[in-house]
Structures are given as structure tokens and as C-alpha cells.
Subunit: 466 residues, 2 copies
């Protein structure tokens, strides 16, 4: 591309907008100017990117209960204090699970002539270990229902291989993730319930490569816990192909993962008291813990640094909020949500009034806008802010899941609305929960624009309420 | 992020939409279904990504006049033929410039004690060489106007160092590129005109790293051509800082680039004859040539493979166009636009009627929609298609530059409208014209969604005209 000059006529094609939202003219000019200040600060002097670099490169992977998770808590508190934008910074203690991957993690496909083919695997979070090498035949299914329909004889003593791929035709990768995710969450539990020796789960990604993607699996009240491993999509395709040629092949899995006793950890909270309605709280957060295979950059280092930055941007732009704003770095989203539960529990104990909560946990990608969980009438009110968010491409509003950490607030203190930061997620599941989730995958401008968009929503919520 | 299920309520916040565009209900269901077929084909069986892999990895950098550019022509023709969706595939001969970088390219900052610091440089495309080592003092300016205001004595015999950075506050990186680009295009010519010995130009990117970004510079009718080099942004910052401490420092540049005689090359054209209005032509294209520092992945391998794919998608979806569609792989966009000029010249000679032309030359990023150059009334017509493009996030319509290769059509045959594929460009200038523009920087889904969006626009233009 050579030089181009581009004019903007935002939203000319976005013709599905309801008539009530057509109030561009009435959007106060002061709000437009406030947003411009926020985005200027983010793009010219933003701190998210360098904070993320530190969190990824100096702290690194920080699975709940790990020494790095403890380091991340200390880093989070210090970073909030240094941001110099909070009235107080404090910790909220919570007990978290302590699962460790261990040193052994190996998979191989054993053909009928004893020929073995290595298969890229990783233990699913929370899985039991194999207790040495575990070798068994393999039964491929595409769903939990398909497993259910199999006779016991076909299942007993086997690995159940859950191999339903992402539905790539879905435009939103999150929907494809949702559609395939029961295999990882419940596959090992169901396999154990039926007498299988283990579960092999196709990685939850549409990328075709050799990186296995971990993520939590839950045994619930399953009496027999059997190991669950993710296969890279290439390994899954290979296993499926080899099985067609030789249904009697075996798989050998060795994993030394285990669950240790719970340990003490913390949410990190920074608070700015509202000038006018201090009792109305707006929470903004991401989760401080990450999986252990990489640096937890997009999941969810970006949400962490954006949540701190959103509050800093407001101060730097001279926009002291009328309502109380809390940035929360939640602990243990990935395998327990204990931090989110603790935050909600304390909110309930303290009889707090929560106006809104915003979570960024979908990666630090270029802004589209926000997902929202709230009453339709309030959604319409938020939609009227669209025109002043449109120049920043942050004006999409999609009813839908807002965030796992803020969800417990719903039953605890009935917040008026939950929002999720909604960036373009086409690249997300290529790296999500895998060794690829590193700092290098994050673009500075996309990250800073996201934090600014969150600050903009907080500014509007803080000024106008809901 | 854990599992989430997301509903879509497209455009609820996009409240700047004009009332006339509110025809969601009237958008024929057949069109929605047609688009769904196009996107399904692209996401489930798309060929853009594998075609791009070949072009990047097997052909590689393909600057006009190079052997690889000739290979790219052969590849383009074969790929179009194998796509099996064109009625005819042919070449259009054109003469192209043949600039070569040569083997020597080195820059260093020489302090007053003879201490030298290496500086990452690359020759600007079209620059003359230095004829051995060229050492001189350095004068830093932030603009052509600042150079103009300097007395001759301050300029003569010096390197002019153009160091105006991107304006990072601009939301559209293309606007920042436009705002800084005159330094690269005209800096060396102006430096030579004023008696300087060369020009050093800060790379046109907001990334802060050590990759110099090349790009065309033009001498015009300047009598004295002096060498022009791009400095990486880190080298530019270092040079600027060292100059403050020691204004008498020198810079040494050695570049063996040169311009050889023009050579014969080609546009590659694939055509599908319209069923109802075969004389009305819709062109879709990207440029086949690239800079020589990397693989020309986003610039503009993505536009090339998307243009072929857009036509293939229509056929695979069973949507034979009513108007004639031509996919054109333009040669020599980067340093001459000779291919684009030739295409327009032949269109004029053949008295062709051009309804619309679409170019993809802004990178293969996630769709936003299109830029457009057309009459406002027609823009409103195109805007009515917004609702059926909205589910694919391809419904933005922005008046603005559409594409360098299709621009010559305007004066030649007065096409009704020009469109540019408009993907999210936040990452683009990090890699544009640098060694970073490789296949690995392209995301499969983003690329395929872009090609599908282009096919969708062609389908609508082909059916409804303008």
C-alpha cells in the first residue's frame, strides 16, 4: 500500500441501529472531548504495553498456587500503587486450588506392529496423573452423546478420544469454542464414569498445528477420576486417520500432574472513591492467574493491565469519576473462580451497591465494543452512547456473556449490568491456553485502544449511571 | 477466558446510521443466504491461506523486474487457471522499472572521537547508490518546510535527517502514514535540490524496533539525485539523541542500489463473463509485486489471493454474476503503478464500461468493510446493503482512497465507483515494507473473512449494479 488519506464516516452502513439511538446530535460535546483525552493519553503515553511486558517476561506463567502467581499478586499491588491513581490498594484473601503439571507429559500412538508415533499432548488442568505409563486402545467419538450411546464393552479399559472440531463456519470464534468445549470440561469425567481409562480431547482451536491447548476439566462427583489430556489438532487428525486404518491401535499416555492442597492467594483491588455517588460501585477487572504453558499474555495479562490502565487514563485525562471505581485483578479464574467468588462474597457481606462490572478476558485485540448482560431497557440507554464511541470503533454492543469473574456478583449483589470488553477475536483461539500465548502476540495499539475503550465506558457509566 | 456463549445483536450501538439505510427487513432473504454460502465456503474450504503460503514461501519477495516477480506472474496465471472459476485467464504486458538493492547496505553514526555506532538502514526504493562510503554531518528536521527554511550553508554537504514520527494519537494508522509520508516520498529529492549529499528518513511506522521500512521515493525532475535511506525508528531515536549531545557528529552511509533498464512484465487477469450485463465490468484486484525485504505477505500477497478467491467463492457458492467480473493481479504498484496504468489504458482503448473496481491493498486483516470513492447518492445505495454485511462485521463504509492500482481507471474510463477492502489496520504499519512482512503475520480466518467480504460486495454489485 502506498500513501492514503482516509476520511471517516462512521457507521453509515451500520443500518440496524434502532431509532432511539439516533442521538448523535445530543451526545454532549464534553463527552466527546473527554473520550478524545482518554484515547490520546492511551495512544501517546499508554502504560498497558510495558506493564504487560513485565508481567509476561518477568513474572511469566502464573497458575493459581504457583510461586509466580504469588509474584503476580505482589506485582499487581505495586503496579497499582505506582500508577498513582487509586485512593487505596488492597488484597482480598482467598483459598485457591493448587494443581501442578509435573515433569512428565508424553503421548504416543502405538501401531499394531509396535511402531510408535509421538503425539503432542498436555494434561488438562485439574486432571489426575497416569501413575506411570498408561497404555490402552482408543475409541473415537465426536460428542458426549455419542459416548453415552456406546455399549460398556466398547468403552471399558479404553481411552475415549473426543474429536469434535471447532465449527469454523461460525463467525465468532467464541461460539465455536462454546460449541466444542463440553468435550474438555466433561469428557474425562464422563469417560471415567463409563469405565474408560482416560480421555484424549482435541484441542479447542481452529488452528491446525502441533500445539496442545490446556484448560480446566472438572470431575464433579465422578467416583472414578481418569486422566484427561489435550491433543494438538495435528495429533488429533493423525490419531483419527491411523484409527481408521487400524482400529486396534493403542495410545500410551504418561502424565505426572497432580492436585496439591489449596493455598492462600489474593485478589488485588485498587479503588477510587466517587465524588458524587461514592456508594455506587463500578468494577473493572481481568484475571491475574494464567495457564502454565506460556506467559498468559492475551489470557489474561491484557485484561489485567487494561483494568489498571483504565483507571489511570481517567485520572490522567482529569476525569475524576462521580461513582466509585474499583480495578480488580481476580485470582484463579482459570481453574476455580475462587477470586471472583470471594469478591462477590465480600460485596454481599459489606452490603455494597454495584452499578456495573466490566471484565476484559477475551484477549487484548482491537476494539469492537462490549458484550452486555443487563435489562433490555438499560441496554438501549447504553446504546445511546454509541455515536461518541464510534470514532474509536468501540460502539458494538452485543448481549452475551460478560466475564467469569464478575458473574458471581449477579446472585450476590445483583449488579445493574455486566459488561465484557469485546475485541476482535479471530486470532484468539489460535493461542488460547497454549504455548503460543506470549507477549509477542499482543499488538501495542490494539491493547492500548482496548484499555481506552474500557476507560470510556467507565467514564460514561460513572457520569450517567444506569 | 473460559467457555462463553455469545449472542449477536449487530449494530445496536451503531446509531449514526442514516434513516434510509434502515431496510433490514427489505434486504432480500436470498441475499442473506447467498452471503452465508460465500462465508461458509471461505471459512470451511477457503484457499486464500494456502495460496498465500505458496506465494510467500515458494516465490517470496517479488519486486518489479526481479526474477521472482516473473515467477509470481507465472504462479498467478496458473493459480487462476487451477481455481477453475474463470472463463479466461490472460496477461497484460507492461514495462516496469527495475530497481535493485544491491549487496551493500550499511549505516553508522560516527561520533567526534571516531566512535561508531551501527544504525539499521535500508535504501528507499528508487534511490541512487552512494558510490562507495558517503560520510557527512547531519541536520535533523521534522518536515520539508523546516528544510526549506534552513539557510543553504546549513544544508550543503550534509545528510538531511527527516525525523517526524507517526502521529500515534490518530485512530487510523493509515492517516498517520499519510501524515508522515512526504518525508520518504520527497525527502531525498528536496535534500538533493538544496545541495545536501543524502537523506535519512525515519521509518514510516509507529513501532519502536530496529527494522527499517523501505518504500518508494521519487526524484521527479530534481537535477541532482542524492541517496535516500530509511532508518529504523530505534536508529532514528538514537541518532536524534546523539545529535543533541554532539551536533557535529557524522553519518556514514554505503548503499549499492541502482536502477537498471526497464523490463517487460505483466498484469494477470482472470475474467468471468456476466450472464445479463456482460459489458458492465467489475474489477477486483491486489498487486502482485512487493518490496524486497520480506515476503510481501500483507503487502500485498493477501490482496492477490483474496482477489482470486473472491471469484472462486462466487462460483463455489453457485452465484454466477450478472455482470462481468475481472480479478486482476496488478504488477508494479510499489514503484511505478505501471500495471494499473496499463489496465486503465487498455480499458480506454477497448471502450470498456467499468461499473466498479475493488482493491485489497491494506493488509489481510479482519474485516471492517470498505472505503469508497463514488457519488454520495450511490454511497447511500451501497449503505443499504449494510444489514446483510453486518453479521460478518463487514458493514463499515468510509469515503476515502480505494486503491492505487484502480485509481488510473478514474480518468481513463470513469468507473461508477471505486472501493477499497478495509480491514482493521492497527498492526499493519508495524510490518509494512519491512523484513517483518511475512506469511506468519497473517491469520487464516482474518484473511479468508476478507476474501469472503470482497466476494459479498461483488455479488451485490453484480446483482444490483449502481
Amino acid at each position: 500500500m502506498r500513501l492514503l488519506a482516509s476520511l471517516l464516516l462512521a457507521g453509515l452502513l451500520s443500518s440496524a441501529a434502532p431509532a432511539h439511538a439516533q442521538n448523535l446530535a445530543s451526545a454532549p460535546k464534553t463527552d466527546s472531548l473527554a473520550l478524545r483525552k482518554i484515547y490520546d493519553e492511551a495512544l501517546l503515553r499508554g502504560q498497558s504495553y510495558e506493564n504487560l511486558r513485565y508481567l509476561c517476561k518477568k513474572v511469566g506463567p502464573r497458575l493459581s498456587g504457583s510461586p509466580q502467581a504469588a509474584q503476580a499478586v505482589a506485582w499487581g499491588k505495586l503496579t497499582m500503587e505506582k500508577a498513582n491513581c487509586f485512593d487505596k490498594v488492597y488484597l482480598q484473601e482467598c483459598q485457591v486450588p493448587h494443581w501442578v503439571r509435573g515433569s512428565k507429559e508424553k503421548g504416543q500412538i502405538i501401531g499394531n506392529k509396535g511402531r510408535s508415533v509421538p503425539a503432542a499432548v498436555c494434561a488438562l488442568g485439574g486432571s489426575v496423573g497416569t501413575g506411570g505409563r498408561l497404555r490402552a486402545g482408543v475409541v473415537e467419538v465426536k460428542s458426549l452423546a455419542e459416548l453415552k450411546a456406546l455399549p460398556d464393552a466398547a468403552v471399558k479399559g479404553k481411552f475415549i478420544f473426543f474429536n469434535r472440531p471447532f465449527n469454523d463456519a461460525l463467525i465468532e470464534p467464541g461460539a465455536a469454542y462454546g460449541g466444542a468445549g463440553d468435550q474438555r470440561r466433561s469428557g474425562p469425567a464422563e469417560a471415567g464414569r463409563r469405565g474408560a481409562v482416560g480421555a484424549l480431547v482435541r484441542s479447542l482451536t481452529s488452528a491446525r498445528d502441533n500445539n496442545p491447548h490446556t484448560g480446566a476439566t472438572a470431575y464433579g462427583d465422578t467416583p472414578t477420576k481418569v486422566p484427561g489430556a489435550a491433543l494438538s489438532t495435528m495429533a488429533a487428525d493423525e490419531l483419527s486417520q491411523l484409527l481408521k486404518a487400524d482400529p486396534s491401535l493403542q495410545f500410551e499416555l504418561e502424565m505426572s500432574c497432580e492436585t496439591l492442597p489449596d493455598v492462600v492467594s489474593y485478589n488485588v483491588v485498587g479503588e477510587v472513591r466517587g465524588t458524587k455517588y461514592p456508594d455506587q460501585i463500578i468494577t473493572v477487572g481481568g484475571h491475574l492467574d494464567s495457564w502454565d504453558l506460556a506467559e498468559g499474555a492475551h489470557d489474561d495479562g491484557t485484561g489485567v493491565v487494561q483494568s489498571i490502565e483504565a483507571v489511570r487514563l481517567l485520572k490522567a485525562a482529569g476525569l475524576r469519576p462521580e461513582r466509585t471505581v474499583r480495578a480488580v485483578l481476580f485470582m484463579n479464574e482459570e481453574n476455580g473462580t475462587r477470586g471472583g467468588q470471594k469478591y462477590a462474597e465480600l460485596a454481599q457481606q459489606n452490603h455494597e451497591t454495584h452499578l456495573a462490572a466490566i471484565e476484559s478476558d477475551g484477549g487484548g485485540f482491537t476494539p469492537r465494543g462490549f458484550t452486555a448482560e443487563t435489562a433490555p431497557a438499560l441496554l438501549k440507554k447504553v446504546a445511546t452512547w454509541g455515536p461518541i464511541l464510534a470514532p474509536y470503533h468501540a460502539n458494538s454492543l452485543t448481549p452475551g456473556h460478560a466475564g467469569t469473574d464478575i458473574e458471581p456478583l449477579v446472585s450476590a449483589v445483583h449488579p445493574t449490568a455486566l459488561f465484557g470488553y469485546d475485541g476482535d477475536s479471530q486470532r484468539y483461539f489460535d493461542l488460547h491456553h497454549s504455548a503460543l500465548d506470549t507477549f509477542e502476540q499482543v499488538n501495542r495499539r490494539e491493547l492500548e485502544l482496548g484499555g481506552a475503550s474500557m476507560a470510556a465506558l467507565i467514564y460514561l457509566l460513572g457520569k450517567y449511571g444506569l
